[in-house]
């Protein structure tokens, strides 16, 4: 049956792009390597073959320029999809993103639209190190006028991409490299999904976990373990970190009265800070425990896997916070973590799955 079709998130993104380009000939794809044999981790396969080099545009190494070309082209009626293989490359185009993409609609008093989608891929693992594995989403989330989407699941990624490519809002589309590998059910006729905020991906009554991107998988893992200990976790996928819509989170936490925020970025000044502060404002009297934030420690990503092991939070960190929120004694927490280690012995691995053999 169609409904049981499972594909990876990278395939899902590729599919969405292909379908959107078929329907709308103002969409073009541009970026360094979009036509090369590796096809951006497989996400641009078939594109150049189907649409030719005028709609799948190979580029010099010039990220600031690229962003500007896309904005100018969007202002004159096209819908560019710009791809950077790593988030970091977009650091060269922050001026264009922040001053032009984000503000053009506002400054023109609504007269101009900038329907650009920028795919940024977050690296992790295999020693990529300090300049190739940063989670810099708060840099975009801080900027009014941008839409920042962080899909975690294949089917959502496909729907999100279709929507982003059909609307008029400049969208930063942040993909975690490890999500690329994860398969999920994707209807072959997935249609656009609303890019209007978080969604509850698991219901529960005891604790709400708000997670983004790859950390959803760690949260799900932790919640599976917690369930065995009779703790029922409600998991909210933040999905769209800008503009931020908090209603669903407030709703969830008013039920569970306990909240853990976990995302792929730094804890300090990270996404969790905004959610935590907002939920406190909204539910000051109702919370049973302080909100827990889980994020990266305040230092660059080291290359060596020996140093990176402690760097990335995992389901284990989440279980520890669950223990605290539920007043578990240390023995019970240890039991949970033991169970986790049986279920997923490679929790500190530097590769997304055992088949991965490098080099990037």
């Amino acid at each position: 049956m169609q409904n049981d079709r499972k594909i990876t998130m990278s395939q899902a993104i590729g599919e969405a792009t292909l379908e959107a380009m078929k329907k709308d000939d103002t969409i073009f794809v541009i970026g360094e390597g979009v036509t090369d044999p590796k096809k951006i981790f497989g996400t641009t396969s078939e594109l150049v073959e189907k649409f030719g080099i005028d709609r799948v545009i190979e580029s010099p190494i010039a990220e600031n320029g690229l962003m500007g070309f896309c904005i100018g082209s969007a202002l004159s009626g096209m819908r560019p999809l710009l791809i950077h293989q790593r988030v970091e490359f977009a650091l060269l185009s922050m001026e264009q993103i922040i001053n032009n993409a984000a503000k053009m609609h506002y400054i023109s008093n609504g007269k101009h639209n900038v329907p650009v989608v920028v795919r940024l891929i977050v690296g992790r693992g295999w020693g990529q190190g300090p300049a190739h594995s940063q989670s810099l989403e708060p840099l975009f989330a801080y900027i009014p006028g941008l839409r920042v989407a962080m899909p975690a699941f294949a089917s959502d990624a496909k729907g999100m991409m279709l929507t982003a490519l059909s609307e008029n809002i400049p969208t930063i589309f942040i993909e975690h490299r490890w999500c690329h590998y994860v398969t999920g059910k994707v209807d072959s006729d997935t249609s656009n999904v609303l890019l209007d905020g978080p969604s509850v991906v698991r219901s529960g009554s005891d604790i709400t976990i708000v997670a983004t991107s790859y950390m959803l998988y760690e949260a799900i893992l932790a919640s599976d373990i917690a369930k065995e200990f009779n703790i029922f976790i409600e998991i909210v996928d933040l999905r769209i970190i800008k503009p931020l819509k908090l209603e669903k989170i407030v709703e969830s936490v008013s039920k569970t009265k306990r909240l853990i925020c976990v995302d792929t970025g730094f804890k300090e000044y990270g996404l969790g800070a905004e959610i935590s502060a907002s939920i406190f404002e909204a539910l000051f009297k109702d919370l049973l425990k302080p909100v827990k934030r889980i994020g990266l420690p305040d230092r660059p990503t080291p290359s060596s896997r020996f140093l990176a092991a402690d760097y990335y939070p995992t389901a284990e960190n989440i279980l520890n916070e669950i223990g605290k929120l539920m007043d578990f004694n240390s023995h019970k927490v240890e039991q949970m973590i033991e169970m986790l280690k049986i279920k997923k012995p490679d929790i500190n691995a530097d590769v997304p799955n055992p088949l991965f053999k490098g080099p990037f």
């Binding site: 010039a62 320029g65 500007g68 904005i71 400054i107 006028g145």
Partner: protein, 322 residues
């Protein structure tokens, strides 16, 4: 004679820009125009000359110093003066001020105050023209400072390798704010920064409307015929301070000689003399032209003054497109 008529029209355009900006300068001290203004006074020939070979479907982009380009391309005067007054009928509804002028109806897509930032946008419009197989051209005006930004180079290279119909117009007024070219460039021939990308180019006296026009004619024809970019360096001179209504040569950042020559080369004086000498215009006719323009200008200022403030609540609108 048709060519006479063209010459008169161009002269009128230049003098209109001059008078509008002089009016802004004069009224600036009333403190009703509360935003930075970068006047183009002295640089009118560049704007008018290039624009005379563009049609409505050709698109232009400009910088912080955008008044002349906006006006020469046919931007709405009321919308401009209202914008500078921060009023609701301003082209940006007051959101942008003097450095963000645009007018879609006239093909003026955007002006941007971050130096160099606008250059790749014009290349992007040219990419659209190519992809949509349209025969228009995209033009970007920028200064001798902007060419130093890396993004100019990324833009020029991309425009060349993709054969895009874009005209780069570098108005060299010798300064970036108060910093002369000699502190910023090995020499003041900036066409080398087009040649290096294989982009055809012309450098010419940007204060001489006839020279600007003949260069622009070649440029626009080349872009359309050869389907590739072109680069113009127009050497010119800014009369007033970098930002604001006043003269600033008391600051001593420009050489005496440079200043003297700069003012002698006023594009409007030169053209006025020429047209009078050729008998195409006389002092009376010019006075009449000026008076008509002055009436238009007063109307625009009256319009702007009477125009409504944008409401505070409206500031919340248009953050995201529908």
């Amino acid at each position: 004679m048709d060519s006479n008529k063209d010459e008169i029209i161009d002269f009128e355009k230049m003098i209109r820009i001059r008078l509008i900006e002089e009016a802004i300068a004069e009224k600036y001290s009333d403190q009703e125009m509360r935003c930075p203004v970068h006047l183009s006074i002295g640089q009118e020939a560049a704007a008018v000359g290039v624009m005379s070979f563009l049609n409505k479907e050709d698109k232009i982009y400009s910088t912080h110093r955008c008044h002349a380009h906006y006006l020469a391309k046919g931007g709405n005067l009321n919308a401009m003066i209202s914008e500078i007054h921060g009023k609701v009928s301003g082209c940006c509804g007051g959101r942008g001020g003097s450095m963000h002028l645009f007018d879609d109806d006239a093909g003026i897509i955007a002006s941007l105050p971050i130096v160099g930032s606008v250059i790749p946008l014009a290349v992007g419009s040219a990419l659209t023209f190519k992809l949509k197989k349209m025969h228009n051209i995209s033009v970007v005006f920028f200064g001798d400072g902007a060419i130093e930004e890396g993004v100019y180079h990324e833009s020029a290279n991309f425009a060349k390798i993709h054969n895009l119909p874009v005209l780069f117009v570098c108005e060299n007024n010798l300064y970036s704010v108060y910093t002369p070219l000699k502190f910023r460039q090995p020499n003041n021939d900036l066409t080398r920064l087009a040649t290096s990308y294989g982009i055809e180019n012309i450098r010419c006296d940007g204060n001489n409307i006839k020279k600007v026009k003949s260069a622009s004619e070649i440029a626009t024809k080349h872009i359309k015929d050869k389907k590739e970019p072109f680069f113009l360096q127009l050497d010119t001179f800014r009369h007033r301070e970098h930002c604001g209504p006043n003269f600033d040569d008391d600051l001593g950042y420009r050489e005496e000689d440079e200043i003297k020559i700069g003012f002698i080369n006023d594009p409007i004086l030169i053209e006025k003399d020429r047209l009078i000498k050729k008998g195409i215009l006389d002092k009376n006719k010019i006075l009449k032209i000026e008076n008509n323009i002055k009436i238009e200008i007063e109307k625009a200022f009256t319009f702007a003054k009477q125009d409504d403030f944008p409401s505070r609540a409206s500031a919340e609108e248009h953050l995201y497109a529908k």
